[in-house]
Symmetry: C2
Subunit: 173 residues, 2 copies
């Protein structure tokens, strides 16, 4: 995120503006999860590198109203597409024995996951830039409250702030 709350640089999709430290943190954190959920746009923004690493990856779920469009991309247990809401997919993941799920965006997924009380923790990396305009973290008016878990300086320029939803216990575990 830019320090003024933008997840993208103006209308450019993806996280290209992120610092090397942010990208390194993301790459190191992902393997600590045994599954993930992303929206279709987020999937498409990272599609090339996701397909390259598909075979060795955790179970990645992509939410889309047209899963049939992505049949060629899918690979059971690694990359699957669902026309379903977040809570159904979380229920399926729980049933399939997964215990730690990364929600990778975008804003609609974050908003739905918080509104349906499916999100345990929120990790925000803050880059020292201000974009004024860009995709925001949540859609519409929200009133979500969190608790501070801690902060970590990832590099000379990048902060990682970790929050948990106020009063929450884990969803999957």
């Amino acid at each position: 995120m830019s320090l003024d709350g933008c997840l993208t640089h103006h209308d450019r999709p993806g996280t290209g503006f992120g610092s090397p430290a942010d990208h390194a943190f993301f790459r190191a954190a992902l393997p600590t999860f045994d599954c993930s959920i992303a929206g279709r746009l987020t999937y498409q923004a990272g599609r090339e590198s996701i397909l390259r690493a598909r075979e060795s990856s955790r179970l990645q779920m992509v939410l889309t109203s047209t899963p049939e469009r992505f049949e060629a991309d899918s690979m059971a247990e690694h990359l699957e597409f669902r026309n379903a809401d977040t809570s159904s997919v979380v229920a399926e993941l729980r049933q399939r024995g997964r215990s730690r799920c990364a929600l990778l965006g975008g804003a609609r997924l974050y908003t739905e996951a918080c509104a349906q009380d499916l999100l345990d923790e929120l990790w925000v990396t803050i880059e020292p830039v201000a974009f004024g305009e860009g995709t925001r973290m949540f859609e519409g008016r929200t009133d979500f409250r969190f608790e501070v878990m801690g902060a970590e300086r990832l590099s000379s320029e990048t902060w990682l702030l970790k929050y948990r939803r106020a009063g929450r216990r884990g969803v999957l575990a």
Copy 2:
């Protein structure tokens, strides 16, 4: 600021959502400045308490296109109104011997001050809430770059992040 970059709770003006720690930090920091600049809306949101403390305060400048409307509020050397842009007011403050100016908002003032290279440091307190909608820090598309100065945990819930403009030296001093 909420953790998703809102300076106000939805469309409610002012900083009422701020934590006690944030308000205490603000009250303690202000006396370390010998002058300040605010936009008219920001002034009006805090007008009552500003007028109450007017006599003992630093020189407060308010930018407005209609300074004559605020003649009854003004008090020389304490609360003055200017129909002028930020750089002219900063130049006047420098000429009047002031060396440390707080820019108190809103978004237009922050944007203009950054665009005109008048801002040395940016202090952001982050509350553990997400509002989705609210006043943002900057107006329009910006590309401002900062350097991390440091961070401080003001309370169990509130972080203070301090930045300086990349490659800047002081404007007034």
